[in-house]
C-alpha cells in the first residue's frame, strides 16, 4: 500500500518538476499534470477500497517525531473517501480545463496541480498550523486560478477574494497561535483532548479558529466575495471551488469541530440555516447562471453546515446525511458549472441552447433534481433521513426552515429548468462543444445515478423496492432515437406485463390498491394507445411518461412511508416533464412543480411527525399515531390536496392541463389526480377514526364543496375547451374531497365511485377533445362548431362523457349523485351538501357549452374538411365508453365489492343489495332497471318520431330562420363566446381570480424581499471585508451572551 | 342674423338670401364656396348641428339644387345653404369630414340622383334600393309609371268612379237622376 504521503510528494514534486519543463511543451505538461492527479487519485482509491475492506485507519508521521512535535496526516475512511472525491474532481476538472490551462501556460498547470494537492492535504492533515499553511496555499492557488481567464470581472473578483480570505486566514492564524498558547499543541486531536474552551481565553482561540473556517464556507451574508468568484471565474474553476474546495473545507470544519463545545453546534445551525434560507431567497431574483449556481452552492454549504451543527441530534446518522447531501452537491454543482462553461451564455434564459444537445439537457435536469433532492439521487435519502431525525427530536423550527429553504431553491432551479426546456426562441442560442468539456459532466451524470443506487442500498426501508421499472425506463431512454410507434409498443407491453404481475395479487389481497392500480395501469395503457397517433420520434416523451406511471405504481405498492414518498417524488418529476412538453406550458409547469414540491414537503413533514410518533416507517402505523394527530393529518392532507387541486392549491391545474399535449391531458387529469385521492384515502382510512381528524374533516368538507362550486363556475366561463375540462377536474376532485371528508361508509363509497367514474369520463373527454384539438388546431371553442358532421365518433364519445359526468340517469354519473344525496343526509352535512349539489347542476352550463360550441352550431369555413379523430384516440375512448356502459347498467358489479372493502374500515354496510336494486339509508335505486326502462322508452319514441318525419329534407347550416335574412358568415352566427354573460353578471364575482391574485402577491413579495435583501451585495470589496469582520464580531457577542 | 349674412356675403358672395322665418334663412352660394362656408359656420359661428342634405332636380334649368341645412343650437337658428350644380356632370365635393352623417346623405343622393361625391365613404354601396340597375329613380327623366308598368305586372284597374256619385247611385237611386245622359 502506497503511503498517503505520496499524494503530497507526487503533487508537489510534479509541480516543481513542471517548472523545468520547456514552456512550449504544454501538451506534455498538461498530460503530466493529469497523470499526477490520476496517481493521487489512484492512491486514495486504493486506500478507500482497503479501508472499506476493513483495513485500519493509519496515521502518517513526518520528520520522525510523533505529534504534537511534528506534522501528522491521517488516512481514515473519511479522508480516503473525500480525497477520492477531490482527485476525481481534479482529474475531470483538469480535463475540462485542459484548453484554458494550456493557453495560460505551464504556471497555470502547476498552480492547478498545487491546488488539488493542497486540498488533499487539507483533508488529511491533523495539524492546525499545517492546515493553515495549506489553506493559504489553496487560497493563493485559487486566486491564481480565478484569473485563469483574465477579464476585468475576474480580476476584481480575485482581489475581493484575496482581501476576504486574507483577513480570514489572519484570524485563523491568530486563533491557532492562541490555541497553541493555551494548550501547547498544534495537533487537532490533542487540542480537542486539551479541551481548551474550558480555559480562560481558550474560548477566544476556538472562536477565531471556528469562525474563520465558517467564514471560509461562505456564510450568508458575509459571502459576497465568494459569489463574485463563482460568477466571474472560469466555470471550470468555479466547479472546482464549489465541488472540491467546499468539500475539503467542510471536512475541515468537521475535523476542527472536535475542539469546540456544544454552544458551537447552535451557532453552526443558526449560521447554516441563515445561509441556506438567505442565499436561496436571493437566488430567486438572480438571472445570471453562474451567480445563481453560486447562490445555490453557498446555500447547500449552509445546509451542510447546519447539519453539522445538528450533530448532537443526528448522532450516528450524521455521517450518512452529510455524506449523501455533500456527494449530491459535489456531483451536481460540478456538473452544473461545467455545463455553464459549455453553454457560455450567462443569462439563464439562454440555456435553451442545451436543447441543441439533448444529452446535455438530460444532464442539466438530472443535476437540478439532484440538488432539490428527488429520488433516486443520494440527496433524497439524506433529506429524508434528516427530516425524520429532526422531527423525532422535535426540532420543528429547523425542519420547517429546511423545507422552506429547499422550496425557495426549487423556485429558481425549476424556473431555470423551464427556461432551458421551453423558453421560446426563433433560433436557439449557439452551443460549442469540445469533447473534453463533455466527458466530465457526462461522467458525473452517470456517477450521480450510481451513487443514488448505492445509497438506496444503504436504506433498509427500500430493500423491497423493485428496480425493474426504473431500469425499463432507462432502457426506453436508450432507444429514444427510434420512431414513436416502436417505443409506444414497447411501453405498452412493458406496462401490460407489469400490470399482469401486480394486479392479480392485489385483487386477491387489497381491493383498494387494486382499484387504484387498475386506474393507473389500465388508464396508462389506454392513454398510451393514443400515442400511436403521433408521428416522428417524440423524443423524451416515453421515459418521462413511464416515470410518472412508475411513480404511481410505487405509490400503490408502497408499504412504508419512504417507499410512498419515493414513488410520490418520481411521479411528480415524471408528470412535470410531461406537463412542460406542451406548447405554452413553461409557466404552468413551474407552478405545478412549485405546488408539488410544497405539497411533497408537507407530506415529508407529516411523515416525519408520524415517524416521531410511532418510531416506524410503516404506512399502516399512521393508524397508531396518538400525538400531533391534527398537525400530521393536516400536513398530509395539504400535501395530497396539492395533487387533487383543492381550492387555494388549484391554480397550477388549469394551465397545466390545458396546455399539455392531447394525450398528456388525460394522463395528468384522469389518472394523476387520483394519486392525491389515493393518498387522502390512505390518510382517512388510517387516521379518520380520531376525534381530531373529524374536525379537520369538517373543514375539508366545506373546502371540497367550495372547490366544486368555484371549479364548476369557472369552467362555465372558459372559452378554451381544455381549460374548461381542467376546471371541471378541479370541481370533480372537489366532490371527491367532500365525500372523503365525510369519513363515513357512504362518503368513502361515494368518493371511490366518483374516482372511478371521473377516471372514465374525464379520460374520454380529454382524449376526445384533445384529438379534436389536434385536428382543428385550436383550443378555442368559439373557433370550432358544427363538427358533428365531420366527427360523429368524437361527438358520440363526448355526448356519453357529458351525460355520465352530469349525473343524468341512466348513465353512471347518476349513481354518484344518488350516493352523494344519501351520504349527505346520513352525515348531516346539509348545507355543504346543497352547495355540492348546486355546483353539480352548474356543471350543465359548461357541459352544454363544450358539446354545443365544438360539435353543434355553425361549422366554420376552414374546418369543412377536417377528418374524424384519429383512430388511435378513438380506440381507447370507446373502450372507456364500454366501461361506462357496464358500470351504468350493472352498478352493483362495482359498488358491491367497494362496499365490502370499505366495511373493513367503516363497518356499517349502508347499502343493501337485492339484485340490481340498492337500498340505502334514505332511498333506493335500481341502475339496471332504469337503464332498461329508459332504453326501451327512448328507442320506441325515437322510432315513432322517425316514422313521422322520415321524409325530412336534410338542410344545411345556413337554412335557418334568421329574421327573414340569411346569415352572412358562420363566425357571426355561431353563438359561443361568453354565452353565459347573464350568469356571469349575477355570479361571476365568485370566480374572480382572488386566489391567483393572492399567490401572485405572495410571489411579488418574495421577489421584492429578495431584491431588497440582495442589495447587501453592493459589489464593493471593502464592504465585503467589513461584513467578514462584522460576522466575527456578531458571532463573538453571540458566544458571550 | 342679418349681420351674419352680411358678413358672410362679403366673403362668400351669397345670393338669393331669403329670410323665410325669423329663425330660418336661405342663402345660395357658389359650388366652390359651399364647403368652406359651412366649415366656417360650423367652427366659428356656432352652427354645430347638421340637419340635412337634400337635393332638388331642376331639370328645366339643367341643374341640381343641393341644400345643406345647418342648425345653431344655442341661438336656435337654422340656416340653409343652397348651391346649384350642373346636372350633366353632377359632382360635388364631399363634406363627410365635417359631419360623419353627411356620408349617409351623400350615399342617398348618389343612389337617387346619381350625384358623385368623390372620396365619400361607402358611396357606391346600395343604400335603400337593392339591386337597382336602372338610371337613378329620382331624376326627373326617369319615368316611374312606365317603369312600373313594364316591371310589376299591373293589374287591369277598374274604371275609376267618383265615390260620392257611386254611393249615391247605389244607395239612393231614386232621389234624383244625376247621370249626364238623363239630364240632357
Amino acid at each position: 500500500m502506497i503511503s498517503p504521503i505520496h499524494i503530497i510528494t507526487i503533487g508537489l514534486g510534479v509541480a516543481f518538476a513542471l517548472g523545468f519543463v520547456n514552456k512550449k511543451a504544454k501538451n506534455f505538461s498538461a498530460t503530466i499534470m493529469l497523470v499526477a492527479i490520476g496517481l493521487m487519485g489512484a492512491i486514495s482509491v486504493a486506500w478507500l477500497t482497503a479501508l472499506l475492506q476493513g483495513a485500519e485507519t493509519v496515521q502518517i508521521f513526518t520528520a520522525g517525531f510523533k505529534p504534537p512535535y511534528s506534522i501528522n496526516l491521517m488516512m481514515g475512511i473519511h479522508e480516503a473517501f473525500l480525497t477520492t472525491l477531490i482527485n476525481v474532481a481534479g482529474l475531470l476538472g483538469g480535463l475540462y480545463l485542459l484548453q484554458s490551462l494550456k493557453n495560460a501556460g505551464n504556471h497555470a498547470i502547476m498552480v492547478f496541480l498545487v491546488f488539488i494537492m493542497g486540498l488533499n492535504v487539507i483533508i488529511m492533515t491533523r495539524d492546525a498550523f499545517n492546515l493553515f499553511v495549506f489553506m493559504e496555499v489553496v487560497s493563493i492557488a485559487t486566486a491564481g486560478l480565478i484569473i485563469l481567464t483574465e477579464t476585468g470581472k475576474s480580476i476584481q473578483a480575485g482581489f475581493k477574494y484575496m482581501l476576504a480570505t486574507g483577513i480570514i486566514a489572519g484570524i485563523l492564524l491568530l486563533g491557532i497561535i492562541f490555541a497553541y498558547y493555551f494548550s501547547g499543541t498544534l495537533n487537532i486531536d490533542s487540542l480537542a483532548e486539551a479541551n481548551i474552551t474550558t480555559l480562560k481565553g481558550g474560548s477566544v482561540a476556538v472562536l477565531m479558529i471556528l469562525v474563520s473556517i465558517i467564514l471560509e464556507l461562505k456564510p450568508f451574508p458575509a459571502n459576497g466575495w465568494a459569489l463574485d468568484v463563482y460568477e466571474a471565474s472560469n466555470p471550470g474553476i468555479s466547479a472546482m471551488l464549489s465541488a472540491a474546495s467546499a468539500t475539503a473545507l467542510y471536512f475541515v470544519l468537521f475535523k476542527v469541530l472536535a475542539i469546540a463545545n456544544e454552544n458551537w453546534y447552535h451557532i453552526l445551525t443558526v449560521a447554516g440555516m441563515l445561509t441556506f434560507i438567505g442565499s436561496n431567497l436571493l437566488g430567486i431574483k438572480q438571472n445570471k447562471a453562474r451567480r445563481l449556481l453560486g447562490y445555490s452552492s453557498v446555500g447547500q454549504m449552509g445546509l451542510l453546515m447546519a447539519i453539522l451543527g445538528l450533530k448532537p441530534i443526528l448522532g450516528d446518522k450524521l455521517e450518512f446525511i452529510a455524506a449523501t447531501i455533500l456527494v449530491s452537491h459535489y456531483l451536481a454543482k460540478a456538473g452544473l458549472f461545467w455545463l455553464a462553461g459549455i453553454v457560455e451564455n450567462d443569462n439563464i434564459k439562454n440555456w435553451s441552447a442545451l436543447r441543441r444537445k439533448p444529452i446535455l439537457l438530460v444532464l442539466f435536469g438530472t443535476f437540478l433534481f439532484v440538488l432539490i433532492g428527488f429520488p433516486p439521487f443520494p440527496s433524497f435519502y439524506g433529506k429524508w433521513e434528516l427530516i425524520m431525525q429532526l422531527s423525532s427530536n422535535q426540532h420543528y423550527y429547523v425542519l420547517a426552515l429546511i423545507l422552506l429553504g429547499s422550496f425557495l431553491e426549487g423556485i429558481y432551479l425549476f424556473r431555470w429548468l423551464g427556461y432551458a426546456i421551453k423558453m421560446d426562441f426563433e433560433t436557439l442560442p449557439e452551443l460549442n462543444i469540445n469533447w473534453n468539456k463533455i466527458i466530465p459532466p457526462v461522467l458525473f451524470g452517470v456517477l450521480v445515478y450510481v451513487a443514488g443506487y448505492f445509497t438506496s442500498a444503504l436504506v433498509p426501508e427500500l430493500s423491497a423496492l423493485n428496480y425493474i421499472p426504473l431500469l425499463f425506463i432507462a432502457g426506453i431512454y436508450f432507444i429514444d432515437s427510434l420512431p414513436a410507434y416502436i417505443k409506444n409498443t414497447v411501453a405498452i407491453i412493458g406496462m401490460s406485463i407489469y400490470g399482469y404481475q401486480i394486479l392479480p395479487p392485489l385483487y386477491e389481497n387489497d381491493m383498494l390498491r387494486f382499484i387504484f392500480a387498475a386506474i393507473f395501469i389500465g388508464g396508462g395503457i389506454l392513454t398510451l394507445t393514443a400515442g400511436y397517433a403521433y408521428k416522428g420520434k417524440r423524443s423524451g416523451f416515453y421515459p418521462v411518461a413511464l416515470l410518472m406511471y412508475a411513480g404511481l405504481a410505487y405509490i400503490i405498492q408502497a408499504t412504508n412511508t419512504l417507499e410512498f414518498f419515493f414513488g410520490w417524488e418520481l411521479m411528480t418529476a415524471g408528470s412535470y416533464f410531461l406537463i412542460i412538453r406542451g406548447k405554452k406550458s413553461m409557466p404552468h409547469g413551474l407552478s405545478y412543480m412549485l405546488f408539488s414540491i410544497a405539497g411533497a414537503y408537507a407530506i415529508l413533514a407529516g411523515f416525519g411527525l408520524s415517524f416521531a410518533g410511532t418510531g416506524t416507517y410503516n404506512l399502516s402505523s399512521l393508524a397508531g399515531i396518538s400525538s400531533n394527530i391534527t398537525i400530521i393529518f393536516s400536513l398530509l392532507a395539504i400535501g395530497f390536496m396539492t395533487k387533487t387541486a383543492s381550492l387555494g392549491l388549484h391554480i397550477w391545474l388549469p394551465g397545466a392541463h390545458a396546455e399539455a399535449e392531447s394525450d398528456v391531458s388525460p394522463m395528468v387529469s384522469a389518472i394523476l389526480l387520483k394519486a392525491g385521492v389515493f393518498g387522502l384515502l390512505l390518510l382517512i382510512i388510517n387516521m379518520g377514526h380520531n376525534t381530531e381528524t373529524a374536525q379537520i374533516g369538517y373543514i375539508l368538507g366545506w373546502l371540497g364543496a367550495l372547490t366544486a362550486l368555484v371549479g364548476n363556475l369557472a369552467a362555465a366561463f372558459q372559452e378554451d375547451a381544455k381549460r374548461l375540462l381542467a376546471y371541471s377536474s378541479i370541481a370533480q376532485l372537489g366532490y371527491i374531497l367532500f365525500a372523503l371528508a365525510m369519513m363515513s361508509h357512504l362518503g368513502l363509497l361515494t368518493a371511490m365511485y366518483y374516482s372511478i367514474n371521473h377516471f372514465l369520463y374525464k379520460a374520454i373527454l380529454f382524449l376526445t377533445i384533445g384529438a379534436v384539438v389536434m385536428r382543428v388546431g385550436t383550443h378555442m371553442m368559439y373557433k370550432m362548431g358544427g363538427l358533428i358532421k365531420n366527427m360523429p365518433l368524437a361527438f358520440i364519445a363526448v355526448l356519453i362523457g357529458i351525460i355520465a359526468l352530469s349525473g343524468v340517469p341512466p348513465l353512471s354519473g347518476f349513481g354518484g349523485k344518488w350516493l352523494l344525496y344519501n351520504a349527505i343526509l346520513a352525515k348531516g352535512w346539509y348545507l355543504q351538501g346543497a352547495m355540492v349539489l348546486f355546483s353539480g347542476i352548474i356543471a350543465f352550463l359548461y357541459l352544454f357549452k363544450l358539446i354545443y360550441s365544438v360539435f353543434l352550431g355553425q361549422m366554420k369555413d376552414n374546418l369543412r374538411h377536417v377528418k374524424d379523430i384519429s383512430i388511435w384516440f378513438a380506440i381507447p375512448v370507446y373502450i372507456l365508453i364500454i366501461g361506462i356502459m357496464i358500470i351504468s347498467a350493472k352498478p352493483e358489479w362495482v359498488l358491491q365489492p367497494l362496499g365490502d372493502m370499505i366495511s373493513q374500515w367503516y363497518p356499517n354496510a349502508a347499502l343493501a343489495w337485492n339484485g340490481g336494486l340498492a337500498t340505502g339509508p334514505y332511498g333506493y335505486w335500481n341502475g339496471n332497471g332504469i337503464m332498461i326502462t329508459v332504453g326501451i322508452m327512448f328507442v320506441s319514441l325515437a322510432t315513432w318520431l322517425w316514422m313521422m318525419s322520415r321524409k325530412a329534407v336534410q338542410v344545411k347550416q345556413f337554412n335557418i330562420v334568421y329574421s327573414a335574412e340569411a346569415p352572412q358568415r358562420p363566425e357571426t352566427t355561431h353563438i359561443s363566446y361568453n354565452i353565459y354573460a347573464g350568469y356571469n353578471k349575477a355570479l361571476g364575482w365568485i370566480v374572480a381570480p382572488k386566489i391567483t391574485a393572492f399567490w401572485d402577491t405572495m410571489t411579488e413579495w418574495i421577489h421584492s424581499l429578495a431584491q431588497y435583501v440582495r442589495q447587501l451585495y453592493s459589489g464593493n470589496g471593502q464592504l465585503y471585508a467589513i461584513y467578514v469582520l462584522a460576522y466575527i464580531v456578531v458571532v463573538y457577542f453571540t458566544m458571550i451572551f | 342674423m342679418k349681420d351674419l349674412i352680411n358678413k358672410l356675403s362679403k366673403a362668400y358672395e351669397l345670393s338669393d338670401v331669403v329670410y323665410q322665418r325669423p329663425n330660418f334663412t336661405y342663402a345660395t352660394a357658389n359650388k366652390e364656396n359651399v364647403i368652406s362656408l359651412i366649415t366656417q359656420l360650423r367652427d366659428l359661428e356656432g352652427f354645430s348641428h347638421f340637419v340635412l342634405l337634400s337635393c332638388v332636380d331642376w331639370i328645366e334649368d339643367n341643374i341640381f339644387q343641393l341644400s345643406y341645412i345647418l342648425n345653431n343650437p344655442t341661438q336656435k337658428y337654422d340656416l340653409a345653404i343652397r348651391c346649384m350644380i350642373d346636372r350633366k356632370e353632377a359632382t360635388m365635393t364631399s363634406a363627410h369630414h365635417l359631419w360623419e352623417q353627411i356620408a349617409t346623405y351623400q350615399r342617398e343622393l348618389k343612389e337617387m340622383y346619381g350625384i358623385e361625391f368623390p372620396d365619400s365613404p361607402r358611396l357606391n354601396e346600395d343604400f335603400i334600393l337593392e339591386g337597382w340597375d336602372d338610371i337613378p329613380p329620382m331624376r326627373r327623366e326617369f319615368d316611374t309609371k312606365k317603369f312600373s308598368e313594364e316591371t310589376f305586372f299591373p293589374r287591369e284597374r277598374p274604371q275609376s268612379n267618383d265615390p260620392a256619385t257611386y254611393m249615391k247611385n247605389k244607395m239612393h237611386p231614386d232621389e234624383w237622376d244625376n247621370t249626364p245622359s238623363s239630364k240632357g
Binding site: F129, I140, Q156, F159, I177, S1018, Q1022 | -
Partner: protein, 118 residues
C-alpha cells in the same frame, strides 16, 4: 516586555483592519492588510516569548536539560517564518491584482470596481 510586544501586535492588527475598512485606495488597503499581517506575526512571536529566555538554539550556553526553562518556545518562531512567507505571497499577489485593476479602469478607488454585484 512580552505584553508590550503582544499589545503592539494587537494594535498593529487593529490599525491594519482599520485601514482595510476605511481606506478607499487599493494600495492603502493592501498596506493595511500588510499591517494586519505584520501585527499577527508580532503576536505570534510575542506569545512564544519566555521572560529572560534565549534563542532556541541548543549550543553551549543552553544545555539540553534546562532548555525547556531557558529558551523561548521555538515552535511559534518556526511558524512565524512560514507565516511571513505566506503573507508575502499574498501581499504580492494582491499588488499584482491591484496593478491589473488599475490597468483596467485607470483608478485605484475600490468603489469603482463594482461590476459584480447582487
Amino acid at each position: 516586555m512580552e505584553y508590550i510586544a503582544l499589545g503592539t501586535g494587537m494594535l498593529v492588527i487593529l490599525a491594519g483592519l482599520w485601514a482595510i475598512m476605511t481606506r478607499k485606495n487599493l494600495i492603502r488597503i493592501i498596506i493595511g492588510f500588510s499591517l494586519f499581517d505584520t501585527g499577527i506575526h508580532l503576536v505570534l512571536v510575542a506569545i512564544s516569548y519566555v521572560k529572560g529566555g534565549t534563542a532556541p538554539i541548543l549550543d553551549s550556553t543552553v544545555c539540553i536539560q534546562d532548555a525547556a526553562q531557558r529558551i523561548v518556545d521555538p515552535v511559534p518562531q518556526a511558524l512565524v517564518l512560514t507565516a511571513i512567507v505566506i503573507g508575502l505571497g499574498v501581499t504580492a499577489l494582491m499588488l499584482a491584482f491591484a496593478m491589473k485593476m488599475h490597468k483596467e479602469k485607470g483608478t485605484l478607488d475600490i468603489r469603482s470596481f463594482k461590476d459584480l454585484k447582487w
